[in-house]
């Protein structure tokens, strides 16, 4: 149906796409996979009209078409749900308005007045057809990340849609939400809609897609039917080498209690929670999306309206009522919504990497040592394999996954005793995942305490020494990781007793 031929595009200092060709067929789901910064999002942005300075041709049903603006793409029925959901939503408007944004902007014709009732009715109808239960009058700023995602998908299908591009849609979704999405994708496929699906989770690509294209360094390195390839082959093509063991070896000797928490409450979801971490130990917080893992992390970090409870670090009682206190007491948090909470996208990679530990880079009188800062930044860029033209590049110009890596680098750069990771592997490719795991393990081996919160059960099982299953803001079960398995964790995290 759609044929992209020899697409190339340049940004200052990088050739993001080099002669990429891509064939999209009606009623089929196409997987697009590749390491962070390989050019997946860029290729899809070309198709959806976000850039106009590319070279190459695009054909629709054999006819050459011009796609240079988002409007061009939409008129041809190409809809895209962007990776950074927050950039595409208007937080002050309601869910209904955000879903119907397009028809409010383009579909009004000569009409001057907005018929609110029909807007909300139509929006509700679309949400209902997606089996999503969000009131259309709610404001976007009150939604969770997963709900925002659903709103965007609803917006994309609100218009006549022939080709739907989903850029890492499942990253913030829970199991059930993901299944909902897949059901919806199946439905759309039956209606003849072509789906392009970008994800770093191989199993789901193999579950719902018919075709797969692998990208590396701005080039297409493999196009194949899913039925004729295997996950191992895909990973090998994607990284250019076979993937080593996914999880590092863990030593199991732990020291004293480094963190002890008694009766932690955040006045909202968390009520009298006890937990402890030993030196050199990685404690997992397992649970579904929305179980309250993020809330626990934030409460520990002093980032909640009313935090109460006792926190002991190295046996000493400390008071943590703000993130500032937490950092001073040696706790760092790697937040989940990284673009919003972890980065200053208008600043360079190096100043983002150094921002939580500027003391290390400043001399007497608070003067900064730029050379030292740059050296450390370059070390971190290499260690995490962050794909960037230089340490001075603005973070806004990095690919989604590389932005994630910058946040992780920033937090590791901080000299702390306790590290709290909230979904650290979200949106990073399999190769980089291993790098991040190595860094986390290295922290534990240095005798730090690590809390690892994630809804990816395989990662929890692979990385942690001990784990707490969280359900509705409570610890429902504590287990040694060695003694348990995925099924058991899933049982407890869905409320089983």
């Amino acid at each position: 149906m759609i044929q992209m031929n020899n697409i190339s595009i340049h940004f200052p200092g990088v050739a993001a796409l080099k002669n990429v060709s891509f064939l999209v067929e009606e009623g089929k789901a196409h997987a697009l996979i590749g390491a962070n910064g390989a050019g997946k999002s860029t290729l899809m942005k070309v198709l959806s009209g976000a850039y106009d300075h590319y070279s190459g041709e695009i054909y629709l049903h054999g006819e050459k078409v011009t796609i240079r603006t988002p409007k061009d793409a939409k008129q041809l029925g190409i809809q895209m749900v962007y990776q950074e959901v927050d950039t595409a939503l208007i937080p002050s408007l309601s869910v209904g308005e955000n879903i119907m944004l397009e028809s409010m902007v383009h579909g009004m014709g000569k009409k001057q007045f907005i018929h609110w009732k029909s807007i909300h009715e139509k929006a509700a109808e679309i949400l209902a057809s997606l089996h999503v239960n969000i009131p259309t009058t709610k404001s976007i700023s009150e939604l969770t990340l997963a709900q925002k995602q659903m709103v965007l998908i609803a917006r994309a299908v609100s218009d006549s849609c022939k080709c739907l591009i989903l850029d890492e849609p499942t990253a913030p979704l829970s199991q059930t939400e993901t299944e909902e999405l897949f059901r919806l994708i199946g439905l759309l496929k039956k209606q003849g809609v072509a789906i392009i699906f970008i994800s770093h989770r191989l199993p789901e690509l193999f579950e719902i897609c018919e075709e797969i294209m692998v990208m590396r360094n701005g080039e297409s390195v493999m196009s194949e039917k899913v039925s004729e390839t295997s996950p191992n082959q895909v990973v090998e093509k994607m990284l250019g080498k076979p993937l080593a063991d996914q999880y590092p070896e863990r030593s199991s000797s732990h020291g004293e209690h480094i963190l002890e928490v008694k009766g932690l409450s955040d006045g909202n979801m968390i009520d009298h929670l006890d937990l402890h971490v030993k030196r050199g130990e990685i404690l997992g917080l397992a649970g579904l999306v929305g179980a309250g893992k993020t809330e626990i992390c934030k409460a520990l970090f002093g980032e909640a309206d009313t935090v109460s409870g006792e926190i002991f670090i190295n046996g000493k009682k400390v008071k943590i009522s703000s993130p500032y206190d937490a950092v001073r007491q040696g706790i760092v948090l790697i937040p989940e919504e990284r673009r919003k909470e972890g980065l200053v996208v208008t600043e360079s990679v190096s100043s983002n990497l150094s921002m939580s530990n500027l003391k290390k880079f400043s001399q007497m009188g608070g003067f900064l040592n730029f050379k030292h800062e740059k050296r450390e930044a370059e070390r971190m860029i290499e260690q995490l394999a962050i794909k960037t033209p230089s340490s001075e590049t603005k973070v806004a110009n990095l690919s989604g996954g590389n932005q994630q890596k910058v946040v992780i680098g920033k937090c590791i750069e901080t000299d702390a005793d306790i590290y709290i990771f909230d979904e650290p592997t979200k949106g990073v490719d399999v190769g980089a995942k291993r790098e991040i795991f190595d860094l986390i393990t290295a922290l534990a081996d240095q005798g730090k305490g690590v809390i690892y919160a994630s809804s990816e059960l395989t990662d929890i099982l692979g990385m942690t020494d001990r784990l707490c299953v969280i359900y509705d803001g409570e610890i429902v079960k504590e287990m040694e990781t060695k003694t348990t398995n995925e099924a058991e964790i899933l049982f407890y995290s869905t409320g089983g007793k």
């Binding site: 340049h10 980065l343 200053v344 003391k359």
Partner: protein, 334 residues
Amino acid sequence: MTKPEASTVEKQLVKKPFKLFDFFYKYGTILTIALLILIFTWANPAFIDGNNLINILRSISIVTIIAIGVTISLSVNGFDLSVGSTASVANAVVISMFVWYSQNMFVAILVVLAAAILIGLINSLLIVKLRIPDMLTTLATMFIIQGIALTYTKGATVSENMVMPDGSYATGVISPLFVKMGQVPWIIVVMLVVVIVVHIFLTYTKHGRYMYIIGGNKEAARLSGIPVNKYKTIAYLLSAVLAAIGGMVLASRVMTAEINAGSPYLMDAVAAAFIGFSVLGAGKPNAFGTFVGAILIGILSNGLVMMSVPYYAMDIVKGAVLAFALGLTYYKQK
């Protein structure tokens, strides 16, 4: 392997289409200044005269100092609209200290700085604690402070030998040393010192970096353990103090305190700070850029006067050139 070669070739290819735009973004303001100098010199060769250039620098001193304060408030993504009124207060207080209360220069300046700190504290209290948006807060305090200045002087102009309410004459005199501050070269020196010190503070110290981080993403700054409220408070304190310094320089130059003498400086200062964003491609508020912005405005005003543009038409030309300079620097190619 041939890869590295390939990528250097690509780099050269990549650079070309972007160069022109980059060039304008970085040098747009400076180009406008050069263009203006050419036009004004062509119209009247006396424009490029050394005396006139010094005259321009002298005339922009107050705007620059106040604009640097605005720049600091912008760096934390705030906006201090009360700087003009603060300058008025400083002007009135410092002259009255001399004229009404016969104080020496040291005391006079100290009192003004105390008043400025008080204003900064009130602004930051409203912004940080009550969480009123910056622009609204300072819009409100702008009126309050302006009113305080008026009330303090009872709506009269304060000057040496003025008639006091009880019919007698004011006996105090303005310290000659203080008057020096408003004259060449000191008025230019004060401005340059302020620009350089603040430039170093914002660019080379960790405090300045913290402010930019807060300005770029407050949420991320907070979660990185940066004391956001503390730095916002500092920003508004500095902004008020610089506005007060601007007001004192104004006082020493005119040696009187007219009513609302500081207010007209607000708009020029804000314009200078915003023009400064793009100077040399900084893309954010910065002291050096603000200085260049102030120079642009100063040259414009001076040149227009020399070209005998009637005063009532001046703002039209001024606004148009500002829009041109901003357009040149903000125009973005997709």
